[in-house]
Symmetry: C2
Subunit: 236 residues, 2 copies
Amino acid sequence: MKQQEPSPRKAPSPVPSGIAPGLGLTTHESVYRQLRDRILCGGFAPGEAVTLRGIADELGVSPMPIRDAVRRLIAERALEMRDNRRVLVPPMTRTKFTQILFARKALEPELAGLALSRLTPKAISKIEAIDDGLGRSVSAGDPQGYMRGNYQFHFTLYERAAAEMLLALVASVWLQFGPFMRMAYGRLGTSDLTDFHEVAISAMKDRNETALRRAITDDIEQGMGYIGDTVLGRRQ
Amino acid sequence: MKQQEPSPRKAPSPVPSGIAPGLGLTTHESVYRQLRDRILCGGFAPGEAVTLRGIADELGVSPMPIRDAVRRLIAERALEMRDNRRVLVPPMTRTKFTQILFARKALEPELAGLALSRLTPKAISKIEAIDDGLGRSVSAGDPQGYMRGNYQFHFTLYERAAAEMLLALVASVWLQFGPFMRMAYGRLGTSDLTDFHEVAISAMKDRNETALRRAITDDIEQGMGYIGDTVLGRRQ
DNA sequence: TCACCCCCATTGTGATCACAAATTTGGCGC
DNA sequence: GCGCCAAATTTGTGATCACAATGGGGGTGA
């Protein structure tokens, strides 16, 4: 999956498909997806430094495609470059948290609403299956699996909206709170609150747009509540 | 130290408004700002091809910093890379237009509302001065000046919100409809509709948040109406 | 006249090197 | 020991080159 030799060159399949690194994908695209996935699943700690040569050695490629991927993630605000040109995973602040919460509530219910009329029963089943797997990840104590499942739950729905531009905005927002979800993971199992994912699935089956938007909003507020309490302290 | 030369470089060519290249800035940062400014002011036509070496020759630098700047603009959706790896200024579509309108109405009034309590009288005067210059640009038949002024009017206000993350989302949205504003420019002078910029300035002076949000919303709807009619046709 | 195909210029990708700024480290003087 | 300065390392930036894929242009054949 990693070519570190200058000689072996091949990219026979021009068709990009799948996350499989180096199968019709450019190197920087493959690197980008790996880093992005890692950020979304809590694989980086907030404040952690990211260096081009460090990632390059780790993934076994030259620094150049890393440079492309990191620059893209910086533009998406998934990473941050300080004035000293050091790259790091951005820390959370209270005001940034407030903005993320607002943006999510402003955009995600709309995406869900747009998606509803395009949701096939098959797609709903897929989302339901993802949610089942999500529950298993919680039981198994698998934070990364939980985060990936939660992401898939929301974005499998949102992608049906056929609103690529709004989807990109929301993806950027998720990248910005990804590293903090992990820190809130511990509270998930103990909660006896409503599972708004199931409420949302019911609303999908009922084709009830109002209820779906409500469930997504509630899920956002509950989830961000976990993160806000855990990361920023319940008061302060 | 800019570039030591393996070949003679010529004078920095057409930079319409003063973004001086190289004032403690990296080359790619300078290139990024020039390209960004050009996109926001209608300096590129939708569908126009953008090549690394083409821009590099035009700006008199090597392709490398161009590559960085273009990749950043692609991530911000100001430019688009097709599957064939060709880079171009994205064309508008009806569904993209709808998403842009929604995102603007969802985010910009909030930024204006957040900014209001931080607006000093001096800042209001500055915004008023920008609006005056905007009127002069219309009278003088200066599309670029109008677009730059319009951008400054909105973002001078929004920047006061101290909500950097929301500001970045909105900036990305503006970059996506920038190339189309120019095509709608011709209709501006002839209109006898309400000038919502002036309504907004009055609301700022009155410290009336509701009125300000309303004025921004109205301005968005009116302005995007121009663009939508012009670019997409009044029907279809 | 038109369709097809081959050749070549163009384009983005990735590797490697040189360089300057920032950081870290080591050691010297007090 | 402690603080401070200089050497060494690390890091992003920019240039240059090689390469493969794409696209355009021109020529050939029916």
